[in-house]
């Protein structure tokens, strides 16, 4: 978004544009708040899951889109958050609100520890190491049966809506997730428009120059990895709240790859990329299953290729281009 701004001559004057943007955001927020009262519970559940994936993708976008690194194992941090929450609630009997910061903190700590290769390895090598983390996870979860419930997983009671809210369970979960997603969005936004965000962008664009400017490469890469893991862990916690069940087969390598595909299709490094990617992760795999039962992977893969061909900057880039030409038509007319 930022990279297209400020060509003053072409776009409308900033004040007008800011007002339009404010108006649009307010309308969007109203629609988002009204949605759970208009839709059937199953649709509300689906939208909630879109928000869960959006939080995970905000983290992945921080690492891949803004930090210029790659992770094929982000599903593992999602699983750490999901299982961490399940274990805290199942074995510890912790009240659910505490599990969100706790799961985020655990994922952060593990991300910090596993982030060491991120400081040394580039491109393909980092992709392989993160992939290995994701592959390693499922057998690990099955192995410690007494804690993780083994292949059977753990079943939990979902957070119950407080009486004062007057909400149904699906609506309450929706608003909890919405609040968490908005918080993640705000935190991520503040981070990116600061000195730290600029340093990450600098490392992504030109490591040598960034270091000459005094940016500590290893520190920033590792922290980007840990923060990214933290968002994924928080998303995993929300997942457990919403689904009320965890099992190893929900967190296979497939999840990691779908997350990365969703982000790339949504728009790498784009502000709305994670939301569009969340929609993709939620709906496209099951849609392609409907179209072709035998090989859902084929449809899925074809779709990725088509989208990348039509919109190489992702759906966010496509929307931006469409908005741009729409604005031009308006001004001409």
């Amino acid at each position: 978004m930022a990279e297209r701004r400020g060509t003053g001559r072409r776009g409308p004057v900033p004040a007008v544009r800011a007002r339009w943007r404010g108006l649009l955001l307010t309308a969007a927020l109203l629609a988002v708040c009204a949605a759970p009262f208009q839709l059937v519970p199953f649709r509300v559940f689906q939208l909630t899951m879109v928000l869960v994936y959006t939080v995970a993708l905000i983290g992945l976008n921080l690492l891949v889109g803004h930090g210029g690194q790659i992770s094929l194992g982000h599903g593992a941090f999602f699983a750490v958050g999901a299982y961490g929450t399940a274990i805290m609630m199942f074995h510890g009997g912790w009240p659910y609100p505490v599990t969100l910061p706790a799961a985020a903190a655990v994922a952060f700590a593990i991300g910090l520890a596993l982030g060491v290769p991120a400081t040394r390895l580039h491109g393909l090598y980092l992709a392989l190491v993160t992939l290995a983390i994701a592959i390693f996870l499922v057998p690990l979860l099955k192995r410690f049966e007494s804690v993780t419930g083994g292949s059977m997983g753990l079943t939990l009671a979902k957070p119950r809506p407080p009486a004062w809210s007057g909400l149904a369970e699906d609506q309450w979960l929706y608003f909890l997730t919405l609040a968490a997603a908005l918080l993640a969005l705000a935190v991520n936004h503040s981070l990116l428009r600061s000195r730290v965000g600029r340093a990450l962008h600098a490392v992504r664009d030109n490591e040598t120059a960034a270091e000459v400017m005094g940016v500590r490469l290893a520190f920033h890469k590792r922290m980007a990895f840990a923060w990214s893991a933290m968002f994924a862990g928080a998303a995993g916690c929300l997942y457990t709240w919403v689904i009320g069940f965890v099992s190893p087969d929900s967190f296979t390598v497939n999840l990691s790859i779908t997350l990365l595909a969703g982000l790339v299709i949504g728009g790498l490094g784009a502000t709305w990329g994670p939301l569009l990617g969340g929609l993709f992760v939620m709906f496209v795999p099951s849609l392609s299953q409907d179209v072709n039962k035998a090989a859902p992977g084929v449809i899925f893969g074809l779709l990725i290729i088509v989208v990348m061909y039509v919109a190489p900057t992702g759906l966010a880039g496509l929307v931006r281009r469409a908005a741009h030409s729409f604005g031009r038509t308006l001004r001409k007319g």
């Binding site: 400020g6 935190v187 040598t208």
Partner: protein, 252 residues
């Protein structure tokens, strides 16, 4: 301010720098010349800790420069530009310049994520300083433009602006006027002379453009095949038979 002693750098079989030594006094403007492959950029890379030295010593403000980690160089007051542009193409011109002031900020991941008041104050200050540098170099009009896709001469100035944003005491410029038009070269020379006064800079500049070197530098060091073959006032070095031969030798 800067003392280079017996500096040696090897890449496999190639000796890029072979026992090079010279000193740069505070406030001086030194030209570093020599034919292609003489080792000029390698020398800069050594000073900014991009390459390890295989021998020799570099003292900067009474400090052993070669013992400093690469990211600490900017904080010691050394700024540089790159021979083939080292900008951040997907960031705006203003953001590029603000990265130049990275070591003047304190905001970390947590304080930035929480957007604490002091982070906001610091951000406003960095932005103001960057805008001042941009205005000084006539770049205010392109501040919000991505650093990719601007004319070459403009990008060269953006790099200078980014280096200046770090408020360096020692400025290393690697071929700053390479690829510029006649008019642009003269304008750049004027700007550089003025900035040197205003900011009491010490400058080492690598350049093949002899007119530029003669017009701006008060001392010149000439390298050839990694060795220092001449040093002195510009007119003297220009007349030095060894220098003439080095240039003719490669031209022939």
């Amino acid at each position: 301010m800067l003392e280079v002693h017996e500096l040696t750098v090897r890449f496999g079989g190639i000796t890029a720098l072979d026992g090079v030594g010279f000193t740069v006094a505070r406030g001086a403007m030194v030209g570093l010349i020599g034919p292609n492959g003489a080792g000029k950029t390698t020398l800069f890379n050594c000073l900014t800790r991009r390459h390890r030295a295989d021998g020799g010593e570099v003292r900067y403000e009474d400090r052993d420069l070669l013992a400093e980690p690469p990211h600490a160089i900017a904080g010691l007051g050394i700024g540089r530009t790159f021979q083939n542009l080292g900008l951040f193409p997907r960031m705006s011109v203003r953001e590029n310049v603000m990265v130049g002031a990275h070591h003047h900020g304190r905001a970390g991941f947590l304080t930035a994520a929480l957007r604490l008041p002091r982070v906001r104050r610091e951000e406003a200050r960095l932005r103001e300083e960057a805008d001042a540098v941009l205005a000084r170099l006539d770049l205010a009009a392109v501040a919000d433009h991505p650093a990719a896709g601007l004319p070459f001469g403009t990008l060269k100035r953006v790099e200078l602006a980014r280096a200046l944003a770090g408020r360096p005491r020692l400025l290393l410029l690697d071929e700053p006027v390479n690829g510029l038009s006649h008019g642009e070269v003269d304008a750049f020379a004027d700007t550089l002379r003025a900035l040197r006064e205003e900011l009491s800079l010490t400058v080492v500049v690598v350049e093949h453009h002899m007119g530029f070197v003669m017009g701006t530098c008060d001392r010149v060091v000439c390298l050839d095949f990694g060795r220092r073959i001449a040093e002195g006032p510009p007119e003297e070095v220009q007349r030095d038979p060894a220098v003439i031969e080095a240039y003719l030798g490669t031209a022939a």
